[in-house]
Symmetry: C2
Subunit: 322 residues, 2 copies
């Protein structure tokens, strides 16, 4: 599947071009969609976007959904009932659907006009992973419908990001072991970020810490931190701050200053220090979460190792009925 | 200020009607905007909406912002720097601005084309509090621009909700004391909800628990709970579930079933049991969060009392520079 061809084909089947893009999934797959939501909300003058956890899209389907809408649904295993239903609902409203999954026999595929069977695992180039594919899809939507002046810079970023990540992973290898040793007995973490990466702060909290490590966790938007959450800051409470490069860096820097003054257990993961700046200024902010996902996988692996709690361990997911 | 007149006046000053509504604030004021975001995303076929923490709106201003946009900014004290700046940015982009505040001398007012000096406190009718005013404003926008078929049912709900709340507050008085006694030594709470009330689950976590009680807390969308977060469920971890009436109730019911099976410290606050059903089915879901806000104020007051931690106590907010 080629993102350019798919979007051009869908766009040509609409009356006046794609008018809205719905991003619908659950948990980790929803996290992968957040950068695309942020991108369209920031850059589009016409195309509308909406990000939905799948079951809310099914039960409270937006009235705007129509035959010129594009609904992108992502499910790693491809059989998540709510996500499959969401794609079905989209088709019942005559919308165009794109499914992303790692399973060629997924039930999701039955309701997807186009299926991206994406690559997964450490050997894959991140541009072929769902987060980057979804971002590329919405970039194509914007470019096809109203034009995107930074299109070339974005494409150049897509070619660069995997190399930046490979270097970054080596750069953090030792410090993730120190992190794991230092925090191995903690029971709760707050994860802060902003801009395109806020979704990944949420993702690291709910997937990496809650689901995979059974640790308490919560994401906090760096901008919201000062309007309530910061009152829990003390020398005992661990905070992880994902610092973006780009327009919202000022928000993360403000959180950093406060955390270093009043907190003590503060882990800073800085996209700028990790070399993301070789991507052009106009588009760099959209690539932060792609970098953070891979880098934070190194952190969580180190934590899992020292805690002797393998990342695959579940007590409920796929084990009991719910 | 009259919501109908204000919106009609603004709408008449636009070229083709208000094309988008941006809801911009910080912390508790942002929470008050969530039902309006949910309403427009659900009901509108043309009008676009965006919800922003103020500093992100300032630093990553959406390119869509234009002279036909309406930007609603809310700040209780009216001088929150990020919110004042957001209104200023909106005016620099020639957008229309409405400010909501409890302070007649607020800096926010300088950048607001219209100012709602809202009522506050236990004696006020909730329809005159910011959450309901903002919801009424966007209902008027929808009605003025593309028509809203359930407009009358919505207005009837606005007239009823305060009475429902007054009864509900009495109904929960004893159980909030039991709640406070049972949970007084807990250090962490998860707060679940869905639909229009998700914002209030977030609000109860960040304002009532983190800010006002220095307790660890996180909101979880009832639909997302099963895709990661539920792995932390056990007999020791407290969960508060705000059960909506309306289309997303199924999501909350699913969470309830699981929590009662695998958890033990589970507090359920059910809008249906609290009598919200006297509001018409087509619109009842939008009123859940207005009910929950007032009801959860009784819960937090009981908790503050038994924990001997007054709701006004702060260590950073308004006390140190940040």
């Amino acid at each position: 599947m080629n993102v350019v061809n798919v979007i051009n084909e869908i766009n040509s089947q609409t009356e006046q071009g794609i008018t809205e893009v719905y991003l619908v999934a659950c948990g980790g797959s929803l996290v992968d969609m957040y950068p695309a939501k942020y991108f369209l909300e920031s850059e589009a003058k016409k195309v509308v976007t909406g990000l939905y956890t799948a079951n809310e899209f099914v039960h409270a389907t937006p009235k705007r959904l129509n035959q010129d809408s594009l609904v992108i649904v992502c499910s790693h295993g491809g059989n998540t009932a709510e996500s499959v239903n969401a794609a079905k609902v989209a088709k019942e409203h005559s919308a165009h659907t794109i499914g992303l999954t790692h399973n060629k026999d997924a039930a999701l595929n039955e309701h997807s006009d186009y299926v991206f069977l994406y690559e997964w695992g450490e050997d894959s180039d991140v541009k072929n992973n769902p987060m980057a594919i979804i971002l590329q899809l919405v970039v194509e939507v914007l470019n096809a419908t109203e034009g995107y002046s930074d299109y070339e810079a974005f494409q150049s970023g897509i070619e660069k990001i995997n190399g930046i990540i490979k270097k970054g992973e080596q750069q953090v290898a030792d410090r993730t072991k120190e992190f794991a040793e230092k925090y191995k007995d903690e029971e709760l973490f707050y994860v802060l970020s902003s801009g395109a990466s806020y979704g990944h702060a949420y993702g690291f909290a709910i997937c990496s810490l809650m689901e995979m490590q059974w640790l308490n966790a919560a994401s906090i938007h760096s901008g919201e931190y000062f309007h309530g959450p910061f009152e829990v800051t003390d020398k005992e409470t661990p905070f992880i701050l994902l610092m973006n490069e780009g327009r919202t860096r000022a928000l993360d820097e403000r959180a950093k200053t406060f955390l270093l003054e009043y907190g003590e257990k503060v882990e800073i993961v800085d996209a700028k220090e990790l070399g993301i700046n070789t991507i052009a200024d106009e588009v760099v902010e959209f690539f932060n979460p792609i970098l953070f996902y891979s880098i934070m996988c190194v952190y969580r692996a180190a934590l899992a190792e020292v805690r002797n709690h393998p990342l695959e361990t579940r007590r409920y997911m796929g084990k009991v009925s719910y």
